[in-house]
């Protein structure tokens, strides 16, 4: 009965519209001006999908199906469903309101784990009640093609879940960011993966429950093992990869249900995650494989590492910096991960305002992997009310450092390191970097000479003649500078 309703052309059409709205949602993100409308398209698409499903899958009280929908409506079940949505909505909205912008990476990871878990729950439910999903044959056993789709959705969902949980814990600092390297982990992972394939095939051929549950358990474990060895700072690539997985899981469920909204979404999200991972790897000049294999990036520059402190360098004070910038014609601000950690974006905006009031031309240069997630710096600057037309990508602004009086590097490190251009032995060799050293003066805010960036390498810029180091917490330093400019 449900199936008859679900295959009405209008229902399929509604899901198509929903899918198209999702496309328009992402399309809106091609510019900040259209992005808000895009987000509304996304909400509308989701509303269409949910309402369509509620209408075509009204819960019926047992035995009453013959009376038609209206009479047989199972009111309790409907209330339960609406309550479930309501509870989720409340939790979601409160979280979204409260979260600090600097905590975005964790939030995204946490949300992914929920998508993964939801996919697992749906797959298990479909396994337990295939008739409700219209994937059972007359004898009540699951169609073979649906079994493949189901087990795929299950495994991907489980990996997404446990992987995202680890990513969340590492990003949130609830777990050490350092890579945890089990001995023989590659062998263990390969064995697990093979086992999953074997049991999946078993489920496909025989529909045995035990195969189903084994796949579920092993997928949880492999998701955990795959992510644990990866350093906290590599997590954004992983989060993006898991995002991609959650898309493919949705697509697999879409195949099961013949639902075009889910298939389109799956393809969109799958591509999005894959492309963002690719962009990050390219901008870091690392192969995706080297990220997945893990062991890189102890996290947050805690290492201290190879800094050669015996070379001479110049230390500056907030007053020096204020004087230099107030006299300058143009200042380019280069924010990095340290700005996010220090939450210095608001103070920074005030500084820029003061400088602009003095007639200084201020612009912001954003490296594609500055910070710890794609677009991280842009969101923080936007939060501090920096207009987005003062913020430039690497390609747009890199040629302008030569004409700038001051490059103001705040909490960025790797993305300015000239070793990437010259030193073939450097781990970041080949990564495109911002040419801050071409500015007349480079001001560098960081907390200590010993602290290194994500890649754990020393930055030769600190010791240049035209560099002045401002050693302090980014927010405190900028606030001091603000007081000195008058």
């Amino acid at each position: 009965m449900h199936e008859a309703a679900a295959t009405s052309p209008w229902v399929a059409f509604a899901y198509l519209v929903s899918g198209v709205f999702f496309i328009l949602a992402l399309r809106g993100l091609s510019s900040p001006a259209t992005s808000r409308r895009g987000n509304r398209f996304g909400m509308a698409g989701m509303a269409i999908a949910v309402v369509t499903t509620l209408v075509t899958h009204v819960p019926l009280s047992p035995g009453s199906a013959l009376d038609g929908y209206r009479l047989g409506l199972d009111g309790v079940a409907l209330v339960e469903i609406l309550a479930a949505i309501g509870i989720g909505a409340a939790i979601g909205i409160v979280t979204a309101r409260r979260i600090a912008m600097t905590a975005m990476p964790q939030l995204v990871a946490a949300f992914h784990s929920l998508v993964g878990m939801a996919a697992v729950l749906v797959a298990v439910a479909a396994f337990l009640n295939p008739t409700a999903f219209g994937i059972a044959d007359a004898a009540g056993s699951i169609l073979q093609v649906s079994r493949i789709e189901l087990i795929l959705g299950l495994a991907i969902g489980a990996i997404t879940f446990s992987g995202s949980v680890i990513a969340f814990l590492k990003l949130n600092g609830s777990m050490s960011g350092a890579p945890i390297l089990l001995p023989g982990r590659h062998l263990i992972n390969i064995a697990l993966a093979l086992a999953i394939v074997v049991f999946a095939v078993g489920f496909w051929s025989g529909e045995h429950a035990v195969d189903f549950w084994l796949v579920l358990g092993l997928a949880f474990i492999i998701g955990f093992l795959l992510i644990v060895p990866i350093g906290g700072a590599d997590m954004p690539v992983i989060v993006s990869m898991l995002n991609s997985y959650s898309g493919w899981a949705a697509a697999a469920m879409g195949f099961t249900l013949g639902n075009s909204a889910m298939i389109i979404t799956g393809a969109l999200v799958g591509s999005s995650g894959a492309i963002l991972s690719y962009i990050m790897c390219r901008a870091m000049n690392r192969s995706f494989l080297s990220v997945i294999v893990g062991g890189f990036g102890g996290g947050d520059g805690a290492a201290g590492g190879a800094a050669a402190i015996d070379r001479p360098w110049k230390r500056g004070s907030a007053e020096d910096a204020a004087f230099l910038m107030a006299e300058a014609e143009s200042v380019i601000i280069v924010p990095g991960y340290g700005m996010a950690v220090a939450q210095a974006q608001h103070a920074l905006r005030e500084m820029a305002d003061q400088l602009k009031a003095k007639g200084v031309k201020v612009s912001y240069a954003i490296h594609p992997v500055a910070g710890r997630m794609p677009g991280h710096m842009n969101v923080l600057l936007a939060e501090a009310n920096v207009p987005y037309d003062e913020v430039f990508e690497l390609d747009e602004i890199n040629s302008e450092f030569g004409q700038a009086d001051v490059a103001f590097v705040i909490g960025a490190n790797d993305v300015t390191n000239p070793a990437a251009k010259t030193d073939k032995s450097s781990p970041i060799y080949g990564m495109p970097v911002l040419d801050v050293e071409k500015a007349k003066t480079v001001l560098f805010i960081k907390r200590s000479m010993g602290g290194v960036g994500y890649a754990g390498v020393d930055n030769e810029l600190f010791y240049r003649d035209n560099t002045m180091m401002l050693l302090a917490d980014a927010k405190k330093m900028v606030e001091e500078i603000n007081r000195s400019i008058d």
Binding site: S18, A25, M253, L276
Partner: protein
């Protein structure tokens, strides 16, 4: 829908996804991660079907739990995206 239709839709959607994501401006990559998260929760459709299905109580409760999780994502994802996007402003002139 027959399998080849579904496959066709999927293949074409992959092309669309590829192009549409590459056309997202890098400044909005964080909102992109948040909104894809929200839309991938369209999996709620499956959860709702399970929750409405009669006969197998276990499946029903799993469906309800799935609906809770998915809607945390949906509402949270769209809301946080909206919050971020509201911050992107042009210079006032």
């Amino acid at each position: 829908m027959d399998f080849v239709s579904i496959l066709s839709i999927f293949v074409l959607a992959c092309f669309v996804g590829y192009y549409v994501v590459w056309s997202v401006t890098p400044a909005l990559h964080t909102p992109l991660m948040a909104v894809t998260n929200a839309i991938s929760s369209v999996i709620i459709v499956g959860a709702l079907i399970a929750a409405a299905g009669a006969g197998v109580p276990g499946a029903k409760w799993l469906g309800l739990l799935g609906a809770v999780f998915a809607s945390i994502n949906i509402f949270g994802g769209f809301a946080v995206t909206a919050r971020m996007l509201a911050m992107y402003k042009k210079k006032e002139r």
